[in-house]
Structure formats: C-alpha cells, structure tokens
Symmetry: C2
Subunit: 373 residues, 2 copies
C-alpha cells in the first residue's frame, strides 16, 4: 500500500483547478497548497509552532543540505527529521539533484550518478539514485523526490532528450532502491524542458512506473513566465487525475494562481522567506520594499488587509527600523507575514475552487496586487 | 509625585539582600530583577510576547542607538518607545553616555557635553545632559538614567575625581531639564571608580538631589571581580533604603548573586543575549559551548534541569546543527534559554530571600554551575 493517498474533492467549473486532500503518514493536507521551505531542517527564522499558526500544512526540506550537514545518519539517529526539528506534520524532501547540478564546475555527471565537491569544505562526494533514496529513507520524509536532472534553460533539444531519458533510468533505480514504501511515498519528476514532445515522452516513460505522485520539474529556471504557463498547458493534462501534481520551485503569487488554474496541487519556493530577509514583503497591495525611506514614518501595518501577528502588532516604520538596524526580528516579522500571505492566498484559492469562481478571484487578486495582465 | 515608588518587603537574614516591589507607570516589578537589553528597540531575536513568557518584567533600551537610528523624534511620533516596539511593560533607558564615551577617538568631552561622530555614518553630533533628557523624554521610558561619565579602569585618582564631579554637575542639569517627572523617573549614578573616598564623595553629592532611584556606575569595566565586590561592599550601604539600587552592566550569574547579597535590586547586561548568538548557553550545569563537536550526537536538552521552550522541544544536537549552519533559529533558541535561565535564577533568588536562605542557595548554585569559589 502506498504511504499517501490523493482524494479529489472537486474540479473548478471556471478552470482546471482541483480541490483535494492528500492523506499522509503525518496528517491530511488540503490542496492546492504552498509548502514553506526549510532547507537546513528549519524554515529560516520560524519555529514549528509559528508555522502551524499561520497555516503551514507541510514543509519541504533539502536532501543535499542535510546530507552535507549534519548528515543523514545523524538525523536518523535523532529519530528522523520530524523529531530532529520538532515538526510533526508532513515533510517533503527533494532529492538533492537540483542542488548538486547547481554546483556547476564542482560536479561531474555520469550514468552512475553525480560526483561533486561540498560547498562547505570542498570534500568529495557522490550521489546516485540509490544514495538519494538511502538519504531520504534515513530522513524519513513523508514524500521523497526522485533523483533527476533539472535541465537548464535554454538547453538544446538533444541535451534535454538525453537528460530526460537518464532521468527515467534513474527513476527506475530510485524505485528499486526505495525501501520504505509504506511510510514514504516516492514522486517521479517529468522533465523535457520547453519541448512539447519531450514532455510527452518523459510523462509516458515515468507514468509507467505507477508512483504515488508526480511533479513537473525543469520549470521556473529562467524561462519567460508565458513559456512556463504554455508548458504547463500541455504537460499537466498528461498527469493522472488520481495522483497529486507538484510544480517544483514556484512561489510567486501570480505563478501559484496560474499553476492552480492549470491543475497543479502543490508548490514550494524559497521566494517568500528569502525576500523577507532582504526586507521585502508580499502584500495585498503589491510588493513592498520596507527598507525604502518612504516608509520611515509610516505607522500603519505592513499589509492593511492582513491579520497576521506582524500586521496586528507592528508598523512599517518599526519594521523598517529593524531592517535598517539588521535586527533578527525584522526577518522574523516579514517572514511570518510573507508565508502567511501565501498560505492565506492558497486558502482563498481553495475556497474559490469550492465556489467555482477561481478565475474571478484571480482577476480581483491581480488587480489589487498590481499585476498589469 | 515621583513616577515610581520602591516598596521594601523584607531583607534576607543571611545577607544584605532585599526583596521589594518597584511600582512604575507600566506595572509592578518584583525585585531583585535582571533586565534583558533591547539595544535598538528589540531584545535581539525575541518578540515581546516571548519575553513575557519567560518572565521579563522590564527591559532596557539604549538612548544612544535610538537617537542615532531611527531618531527619538520618530519614536515620539510613533507614540513613544513602548508603542513603537509593542512592549507594554516598564522600560529603562540608559543615558547614551556609556556608548558615547566608548567611541574613543570619535568623541571629545567638554563641560558642556560630548561631541562625537556617528558609528553608522560618521556624521557629527553633540549630547549634553539636556539633550540626553530631551531624548529620553521623547522615548517615554519609565526610568531614565542621568548623563554621566563612566570612568575607565584603570584610571588615576585625579581623573576619576574630576570625572565624578562633572557627573554631579551634569546630574543637576539633567534634573533641571527633565520635564516629565510624573511619568518618568530619573536615576542618579554614583561614580568614583575603585576609590572608596571618591565613591563616598559621589554618593554624598548625588543623594542631595533626592532622586527616585540610584545606580552604581563604573563597575564591570575590566576590574577583577573581587575588586567590584569590594567597591559594592562600601558603596551600597551609602545608598538610601527606600529607593531602588541598580548595578549597571552586570549579568553573569555569579555577579548577580554577589550583587544581590550586597543589596542591589536591579541589573542589566548584554551577556546572556550576546553569548547566545555566539552559540554559548548558560545552564544549571555550567556554560555550554554548543558549537563543540562533543554535542554533535547529544540528543538531550540544552539544560537538563530547564523547562523553557528551547529545552522542552530541542536537543543539543539540533541546536548545534543550527549554530553550525548559521540559522536564525539557533540565536532564538539559545537567547530564549539564556534569558529564561537568568530570569529564573532571579526568581529563585527572590524565593531564597523570602525564606532567609540566600547564602545557602548561592553555595548550592555555585557548586552546580561549576564555580570553584
């Protein structure tokens, strides 16, 4: 039996958006959902209780980072990632592939796997599909991602074709190596770059493995947004109805909406937490760079339409002061707000799907947020 | 009528320690007390709610820093420091003197006040006793400190004598300039370095001004601990019984106990928060440098005898991982623990005074903490 089960509640009459429930060993997730990223076994600046308070149902953590530090064996000895970091809700781990490929000259790809040097101390390492499964089995995440190659953009057709075919071969090895299928679900990743026939080839090959969930990889890697939406337009319909669909690395409000409308159920991105630490807030009236002098004497809340802890208690003037003074509380407050903003956006999205008015919602939201399209 | 009132509950039969209550415009403080430091209108990494949860009754904030950034006029416009930073309990502000004198070659002392350059942008500034009062009146702290000179250690007798006499003249100007005596209490500071007769001279001159509270300044500036205790031995008895007594800049567990035993009611120090950010914890079994490799697989709590949020939920191994990975949560967890540790120590101290067993408590505590004396 699979560790997870996707329950489709309904499809929006205005779009391809799906309302669903994902049953996991650590609880039920209402989808579509945004997953905050906790790269190093912590969502930067936040406690687990705070994440729950703002409605986080699942978080993502990074296999590459945890493998390098503190090491998956140590996390296993601690009782697994949930216990180690004090988070008792679902966790999704990526495969480490994306980070390893991002190391550029520090890595070398072979059919067997990827040789690379640590970004921390330069030591030599090797991750194969089997190793990626061993690490994620040790971490004990509810959802594990296959070890794939995320092709860069732009990339020529032959490169992308070779890469996706290797990804399929690696996926078979992942499935073979994964030892804990009753507690951890392995997701396959559809690659194929910006080529429609290659996406079709990848989907066909990967769906044959009958995995509990599927992701669309290789998007949000520098291509124009319109191109990403186009790829989703023809890729999502290839994915099974009875399995969750995950769009990797996407987290801007417009992309979340466009993804949901095309039938995506799950998203993750470092964007809301990363820009928070740079002093930028996502609000119902658009992006706000709190550091700007114009907010120095603005004693109103960060977002006039928000009821999060940050907006209930602090002014833009105070938050700007904290940002300018490099205070940790600045990161905490803006991170809290930004994550609350995206999680609340997804909650509104789920309500809009339930009421068959997601396109109307999108139009209103884009207008308020200041998107011109 | 004074803004504050000190109520002496009882004196310990084993020592000079006093149990008291300090009534302020923002509530009652049980003394003796440790005051966490919120230099830039935030106790680094903590929210006001978290500070309350661990028992903070009053915090200290720094006049120099707030004057430089965001500016006292801005804080006043925000409705005062309490409202600006969302803290509704008492606040004590220092005078800025200590920071300005610490600027070394960037400052020049005259009878009128101190000329200095900003540590942020090099701009020229001038703080006089009158200016220090203007700033603190704008901030709206419950307790304001006089603008004094904290003489360095070592310093020759003549320097210290001239300095304390100027401090007295400046205190008179402070008292004259302070415009909000019903809401804000001005404390005088006894100087005199490590010279008994100069401490006596300073106390005599300053007590004549009949202020609502008094501090001992110029200690914990590099002198041996035994010398600091000796100065307290002869200085504290010079201070009035019916006013709070504040020892500035002291916060190590042994110094807190030695200070209380000599009759001190209030303390502040950046030590617990600063060492927390470097990965060092104060615990019931002594100091712990969490970064050390020996804690890598230590799955027990930071302090085995602590029930704070950090110790209830996280292991030394996890906290060490966060420290090594430069994660903000490391600072949060250790800061929470360290402040809880000192605030809880002061709570135990108050109980021990109530039960006339403070010297016994000190002996037990020093033994557990690993002090050899």
């Amino acid at each position: 039996m699979s560790a997870i089960r996707y329950e489709l509640i309904k499809t929006c009459k205005q779009s391809g958006a799906r309302l669903g429930r994902l049953h996991t060993p650590h609880g039920v997730i209402e989808t579509p959902i945004f997953m905050p990223v906790g790269t190093q076994a912590t969502v930067k600046s936040m406690t687990p209780e705070e994440l729950k308070e703002i409605g986080s149902q699942i978080i993502l953590s990074n296999t590459y980072h945890l493998y390098m530090r503190p090491g998956h064996d140590l996390v296993k000895e601690a009782g697994g990632l949930h216990k180690f970091m004090n988070w008792d809700k679902p966790i999704l781990t990526d495969s480490g592939g994306f980070q390893v490929f991002s190391l550029g000259p520090l890595r070398k790809i072979t059919e067997e796997g990827v040789h690379f040097r640590s970004h921390i101390d330069g030591s030599k390492h090797f991750i194969s599909p089997e190793k990626a499964m061993e690490i994620q089995n040790a971490l004990g995440s509810d959802i594990m991602m296959a070890f794939d190659e995320c092709a860069p953009y732009p990339a020529d057709r032959e490169y992308v074709k070779n890469s996706l075919e290797r990804t399929t071969r690696w996926l078979k090895r992942c499935k073979e190596a994964h030892t804990n299928t009753e507690k951890q679900a392995l997701f396959g990743i559809i690659q194929g770059g910006m080529y429609k026939d290659l996406r079709e080839q990848s989907a066909k090959e990967i769906l044959e493995l009958d995995l509990p969930g599927y992701a669309v990889g290789g998007l949000s890697v520098g291509e124009p947004k319109e191109l990403m939406y186009e790829v989703l337009d023809y890729t999502v319909p290839l994915m099974p109805e009875n399995k969750p669909r995950y769009l990797m690395g996407v987290g801007s409000p417009d992309d979340l909406l466009e993804g949901v409308i095309r039938g995506i159920d799950m998203f993750d991105c470092v964007l809301p937490t990363r820009i928070a630490r740079n002093g930028t807030a996502m609000t119902s009236v658009g992006k706000i760079v709190v550091r700007n002098a114009s907010y120095a004497r603005d004693f109103g809340p960060l977002d006039p339409n928000c009821d999060c802890y940050c907006c209930r208690n602090y002014s833009r003037a105070y938050i700007r002061h904290l940002v300018k003074a490099n205070e940790i509380l600045a990161s905490r407050l803006i991170t809290t707000h930004n994550l609350h903003f995206l999680l609340n956006l997804m909650k509104q999205v789920r309500e809009a799907i339930m009421e068959d008015r997601l396109l109307d919602f999108k139009e209103e939201f884009f207008k308020a947020y200041g998107y011109t399209k």
